[in-house]
C-alpha cells in the first residue's frame, strides 16, 4: 500500500492531545490484536492485493474525477467532483467495510457488529458481511429505524439482524454505546466494524488507511486531468472518514487548502447543529479525546442536522488535530445552505448528491467565491442522494399534487 504521509498517530494512538483509548480494560486486548493484525495485513501483499482487487472489481474503483462545468459556472471557479457516489452501495463507506471485513476474516472472527445512524454504514457493513459470509448485527437507534425504514429493510435483505436501540436518546450515539456493549461481551469472536475515523486507537488510523484511496486516486487524477494540484479540497465532516480519506494524500502539499464542512443544522448560534469542532469543545466520547458537543459538565448533547450521516455529536480525533494545527479549516454549513447546493447540483449536472455531500458542495461555493475564477477546487462527492429523496422532497415541498 502507499507510504504514510503523516507520522501520526504516535505509538499510543494520539494525534497531539487527541485520540487515545478511553475504553474499558476488557477491550484493550482486542484493540491490540486489531492493531497488530492491521499492521501485518497492510504489509502482506496477499491482503493488499485482495483488497485492491475487491475495490476494483466489486466496489468499482477507481471512481471518476469529474469536472462539473455547469456547476463551476455558477460557483465561479473550476470545481471537480470525486465521484464516490458511483462506488458500490452509493458512497465511500464501502472502502472501509471491505477492508475491515477482510481483516475480520484474517483475524479468524466470524461475526461483525456495527452502529448506524441513517443506515448507510449499516447497509455497507451488511453488504460486506454478505460478501464474506459473516454473521452481522447492526445497532440502530429506535428513532432512526422508524425514520429510515427502507434502509432497515435493505439490511435485512442482505441478511443482517437489525437491533433497534431503545436506550438514551435512541439515536446514533446510543447505537454506538450498544455496539460497544455487545463488543465487550462478544469480543472473542466479534469484530466491531466502526464506520468512521472515531473510536479508540487503532480505529481512526485504520479507517484512514482504508479511506485514503479516495485522495490517492484524486491527487493522481487531478494532476493528469488539470495538470496541477488543486487550490482547495472540500469535504463534509460528521465523524469525518470521507474527509480524512480525501485530505490525507494532500497533507504534505502546503499549497493545497483543506476545508472540512460540518453540519451547522439550523445555525451554530441556535444550538441545534452537529458542528463538533465549530460549536463544541474537546472532551472524551466513544473511546477517544476529540471535539464534541457537550454541556458544561461533560454530558453529551444531542446533535441536529438534516443530514442523518452528519448527525453525530463527535468528530474523529485527527480532525481535531488538523484544526488545532491549522492545517485544515473547519466551518459550519447550515441545513438551508446544504439544501440549496443540493438542488444546484441536481439542476446543473443531473447528479443527485447525498445530503452529507451537499454540505461539501455548499462549502465549495463559498470557497470558490473567496478564491476567485482561477481556482481549482476538488470536492469529495462522498455519496449519492437516492436515500435522501424523501427528505429532500419534503423539504422542497415536491410531494403535494399541486406540484
Amino acid at each position: 500500500m502507499s507510504a504514510p504521509v503523516s507520522q501520526l498517530p504516535d505509538q499510543t494512538g494520539h494525534f497531539g492531545p487527541y485520540g487515545g483509548r478511553f475504553v474499558p480494560e476488557a477491550l484493550i486486548a482486542a484493540l491490540n490484536e486489531l492493531e497488530a493484525a492491521h499492521r501485518e495485513a497492510m504489509q502482506d501483499p496477499q491482503f493488499t492485493d485482495e483488497l485492491k482487487r475487491l475495490l476494483r472489481e466489486y466496489a468499482g474503483r477507481p471512481t471518476l474525477l469529474y469536472e462539473a462545468r455547469r456547476f463551476s459556472q455558477k460557483a465561479g471557479a473550476r470545481i471537480l467532483l470525486k465521484r464516490e457516489d458511483l462506488a458500490h452501495t452509493g458512497a465511500h463507506k464501502i472502502n472501509n467495510v471491505l477492508g475491515q471485513a477482510l481483516l475480520t476474516v484474517r483475524m479468524g472472527k466470524r461475526r461483525v457488529i456495527a452502529e448506524t445512524g441513517a443506515g448507510q454504514h449499516g447497509v455497507a457493513t451488511a453488504t460486506a458481511a454478505a460478501l464474506f459470509g459473516l454473521e452481522c448485527v447492526i445497532y440502530m437507534g429506535e428513532v432512526d429505524t422508524k425514520r429510515q425504514a427502507l434502509n432497515v429493510a435493505r439490511m435485512r435483505m442482505l441478511g443482517a439482524e437489525v437491533v433497534p436501540v431503545t436506550t438514551g436518546s435512541r439515536t446514533l450515539k446510543d447505537a454506538m454505546n450498544e455496539a460497544f456493549r455487545d463488543w465487550v461481551t462478544n469480543v472473542d469472536h466479534t469484530h466491531y466494524l466502526i464506520g468512521s475515523v472515531g473510536g479508540p486507537h487503532p480505529f481512526p488510523a485504520l479507517v484512514r488507511d482504508y479511506q485514503r484511496v479516495i485522495g490517492d486516486e484524486a491527487r493522481e487524477q487531478i494532476l493528469q486531468q488539470v495538470g496541477r494540484l488543486p487550490d482547495a479540497v472540500c469535504a463534509c465532516v460528521g465523524g469525518g472518514s470521507n474527509a480524512i480519506g480525501v485530505f490525507y494524500a494532500f497533507l504534505g502539499d502546503e499549497s493545497v487548502r483543506l476545508y472540512g464542512f460540518e453540519a451547522g443544522g439550523e445555525g451554530v448560534e441556535t444550538g441545534r447543529h452537529a458542528a463538533a469542532i465549530t460549536g463544541g469543545r474537546p472532551g472524551v466520547l466513544h473511546g477517544a479525546r476529540s471535539y464534541l458537543l457537550q454541556d458544561d459538565e461533560g454530558q453529551t448533547i444531542e446533535s441536529h442536522s438534516i443530514s442523518a450521516g452528519l448527525d453525530y455529536p463527535g468528530v474523529g480525533p485527527e480532525h481535531a488535530w488538523l484544526h488545532d494545527t491549522g492545517r485544515a479549516q473547519y466551518r459550519a454549513v447550515t441545513d438551508a445552505e446544504a439544501m440549496e447546493a443540493f438542488l444546484l447540483l441536481c439542476r446543473t449536472e443531473g447528479i443527485i448528491p447525498a445530503l452529507e455531500s451537499s454540505h461539501a458542495l455548499a462549502g465549495a461555493l463559498k470557497v470558490a467565491a473567496e478564491l476567485g475564477p482561477d481556482a481549482v477546487i476538488l470536492v469529495n462527492l462522498s455519496g449519492r442522494g437516492d436515500k435522501d429523496v424523501a427528505t429532500a422532497a419534503e423539504y422542497f415541498g415536491y410531494l403535494g399534487e399541486s406540484r
Binding site: 499510543t12 487515545g20 483509548r21 478511553f22 475504553v23 474499558p24 480494560e25 476488557a26 477491550l27 484493550i28 486486548a29 482486542a30 436506550t167 438514551g168 450515539k173 446510543d174 454505546n177 460497544f180 456493549r181 465487550v184 461481551t185 462478544n186 469480543v187 472473542d188 472532551g283 472524551v284 466520547l285 466513544h286 473511546g287 457537550q294 458544561d296 459538565e297 461533560g298 454530558q299 453529551t300
Partner: protein, 279 residues
C-alpha cells in the same frame, strides 16, 4: 479516607468487604443519600457513588435507566459531591465511580481536590486505563485519593501487573466479559482472574459484575477480598421509582444489603470444604 481500613478490618474478621453501588441523584439526590446510608447501616462496608453519565458504555440497562432519569431530573456534579460528603460522614469509605469526560470537564485536579474535601476515598474509572491517566495519577497523589482501575479476563499478564501497580485501595476485577447487570450465575472466569491478579500485587481484589444475592456474594467472597454489587441494588430503587413508593425502595435496598452482608460473612469455599471434610 482510603478504603484500605475497610479491607484491613474485614481481613481481621476473616471475611470479604461488601461494596455497594448506587448512582447519585436517583431517584432524587436526598433519597439516594438516604439509600446509601441505609446500605451502610445494613452492613455495606464501602459505598460506591456513581456519577450519572449520558453515554455509559460499561453499564447494562438497569444502571443506564437510573442514570438517564437522574440526568433528566437535573443531577449535577455538586450533587454528587454533596452525596459523597453525606455518605462519608457515616464513617464508611466512599468512592466515586465515574466515566471520564465529566471529570475532564470539571478539571481533574479540581475534582480531586473537591472530592478529597468532601471526604471521598477516591475514584473507580471504568473507561480510563492507566495508560491515559497521567493527570489523574498526579492529582490522586496530591490529594491522597484511592484510584481503582479495572482489570478483565482478557487482560494480559503484563497489563494486569501494570494496572495493579497503578491502583491504590484495591483492584477491581470485572468477573465476566460484559456490562453491569445481575446474572443468574456468577462467573467461572472470576476466580481465575483473581488468582492471576494476586500473582502481581498484594492489593486487595474486588470482584464485580453480576452479583445479585447473598449466596452469590458468599460464592465470590470465597475467593475475592471484596464483593461489588450494583445493578441489583439499583433495581430496587428503579422498581420503587416506578411504583412511586420511595420508602419501600429504601427498605428493599437495606434488605438486599443485609442479605449480601450476611453472604460475605459466610464465604462459600469454607462451607464447601467443611462439607467435604465431614463427608
Amino acid at each position: 479516607m482510603s478504603v484500605t481500613k475497610a479491607f484491613t478490618a474485614a481481613r481481621e474478621q476473616g471475611r470479604a468487604v461488601l461494596v455497594g453501588y448506587l448512582p447519585a441523584g436517583f431517584p432524587d439526590v436526598d433519597t439516594a443519600i438516604t439509600a446509601c446510608r441505609a446500605m451502610v447501616e445494613a452492613g455495606v462496608d464501602v459505598v460506591e457513588v456513581g456519577m450519572p453519565y449520558s453515554d455509559p458504555v460499561m453499564d447494562g440497562p438497569v444502571i443506564q435507566a437510573a442514570a438517564d432519569r437522574a440526568l433528566s431530573r437535573g443531577v449535577r456534579i455538586r450533587d454528587l459531591l454533596r452525596t459523597v460528603e453525606a455518605v462519608a460522614a457515616t464513617g464508611a469509605p466512599t468512592l466515586v465511580m465515574t466515566y471520564w469526560n465529566p471529570i475532564v470537564q470539571y478539571g481533574v485536579d479540581a475534582f480531586a481536590r473537591d472530592l478529597a474535601a468532601a471526604g471521598g476515598a477516591g475514584l473507580i474509572t471504568p473507561d480510563l486505563i492507566p495508560d491515559e491517566a497521567d493527570e489523574w495519577l498526579a492529582a490522586s497523589d496530591t490529594y491522597a485519593l484511592d484510584r481503582v482501575f479495572l482489570v478483565a479476563p482478557s487482560s494480559t499478564d503484563a497489563r494486569l501487573a501494570m494496572t495493579a501497580a497503578a491502583c491504590r485501595g484495591f483492584v477491581y476485577a470485572t468477573s465476566v466479559m460484559g456490562v453491569t447487570g445481575a446474572r443468574q450465575r456468577t462467573s467461572e472466569a472470576a476466580p481465575v482472574l483473581v488468582s492471576r491478579v494476586r500473582e502481581v500485587t498484594t492489593l486487595p481484589v474486588g470482584v464485580g459484575l453480576g452479583v445479585s444475592n447473598g449466596d452469590q456474594a458468599a460464592e465470590v467472597a470465597g475467593y475475592a477480598d471484596g464483593v461489588v454489587v450494583g445493578s441489583a441494588l439499583v433495581r430496587r430503587l428503579l422498581d420503587a421509582d416506578d411504583a412511586g413508593d420511595l420508602s419501600a425502595g429504601i427498605t428493599a435496598v437495606a434488605d438486599l444489603a443485609a442479605d449480601l452482608a450476611a453472604g460475605v460473612r459466610r464465604p462459600a469455599h469454607r462451607s464447601a470444604e467443611g462439607v467435604l471434610g465431614n463427608a
